[in-house]
């Protein structure tokens, strides 16, 4: 699988992501400057975390309107995979490629800590190396991770099985106490209807090395490495 990482000005987790992808995919991802418009030959496009354009207006808003996003849309329409993590998730929602929006954390503070995620669906290219209901740990680091969508949208996401990951206790219960940021229904990550786009707030790419505290995030990238390309 050939992966590329899009770099908007202000993105800052591109190196973390490149390390995680290389570890699992066995080759370096292509680093894509946001002015590029040709994403041909790539199977997976990753929009990593950071503060694109400082996130000064709304998180992800300015990047979502960047020319490269047209190419990302085309890539998705062709059946390519897209992974948006943290700012990447915010950009995908701002671009309308995933529903809903990410509001300020309920505590109104930036939060950087580990959280636990329950895998809601294990039959996607992103999650098939986990089991359904499995809980894994991931660092999070965001000020605006409070997932919001109107009730109808939430019901549709649930009904169509598009909630990929939920904040949970280490034992797997999705309680209010396990919800770090106030996200609706403890939602940490969602999928597009064709299951080819995943957006999530936490950073599995920062937990792929035992020396750095564990490999809980690794199955996501190992799973992508095995994916059959359309």
């Amino acid at each position: 699988m050939k992966a590329g990482i899009i770099i908007f000005p202000g993105i800052n987790r591109e190196r973390d992501m490149a390390i995680a992808l290389e570890r699992s995919l066995g080759r370096k991802p292509r680093m894509i400057w946001h002015r590029e418009e040709d994403l041909g030959g790539l199977d997976l496009i990753v929009i990593p975390g950071g503060f694109s354009y400082g996130d000064y207006l709304r998180c992800g808003a300015m990047a979502a309107h960047s020319p490269v996003m047209a190419a990302v849309r085309a890539h998705a329409a062709r059946g390519g995979y897209v992974l948006g993590v943290c700012n990447g998730f915010q950009i995908l929602t701002e671009a309308g490629m995933l529903p809903g929006a990410l509001l300020r954390n309920a505590s109104l503070r930036f939060l950087a800590m580990d959280c636990h995620l329950r895998v809601e669906r294990a039959d996607t290219v992103f999650t098939h190396r986990y089991q359904r209901g499995q809980v894994f740990r991931a660092p999070l680091a965001h000020g605006d991770g409070n997932y919001f969508a109107d009730a109808a949208t939430l019901d549709r996401l649930e009904g169509e099985g598009l909630v990929a990951l939920r904040y949970a206790t280490p034992q797997g219960e999705s309680t209010a106490a396990a919800n770090p940021n106030g996200s609706a229904r403890n939602i940490a990550g969602i999928l597009s209807p064709d299951l080819r786009i995943l957006g999530l707030m936490p950073h599995p790419e920062d937990l792929v090395d035992p020396l750095l505290g564990g490999e809980d995030g690794r199955p996501l990238f190992d799973g992508l490495a095995e994916a059959r390309v359309a």
């Binding site: 207006l57 709304r58 808003a61 300015m62 309107h65 929602t93 701002e94 529903p99 809903g100 929006a101 509001l103 300020r104 954390n105 309920a106 109104l108 409070n146 919001f148 969508a149 109107d150 106030g182």
Partner: protein, 79 residues
């Protein structure tokens, strides 16, 4: 001309910032404060001199970038 775009959360979208401000005001002893809503004000200097056209431009900017209509509504004033 100057256009002012005011962006507020839609009714029904939780406004934690407004809520926190309300609580902090209560705490400071302002006990006649009811609901508080927090939003953004963006002032734009436009080279346009026609008010109607300035408003139309500001509206397009708001729709395209300044507001996220999934969660926000906006108003335009032209001065």
């Amino acid at each position: 001309m100057k256009a002012v775009v005011t962006v507020m959360l839609k009714p029904g979208v939780l406004d934690p910032q407004g809520k926190a401000i309300g609580q902090a005001l209560q705490h400071l002893g302002f006990d006649n404060v009811g609901e508080v809503r927090a939003g953004k004000r963006i002032e734009l200097d436009l080279t346009e001199t026609d008010p109607a056209r300035a408003r139309a431009q500001a509206e397009e900017m708001a729709r395209k970038l300044l507001a996220n209509t999934v969660i926000e509504r906006f108003e335009i004033a032209v001065e």
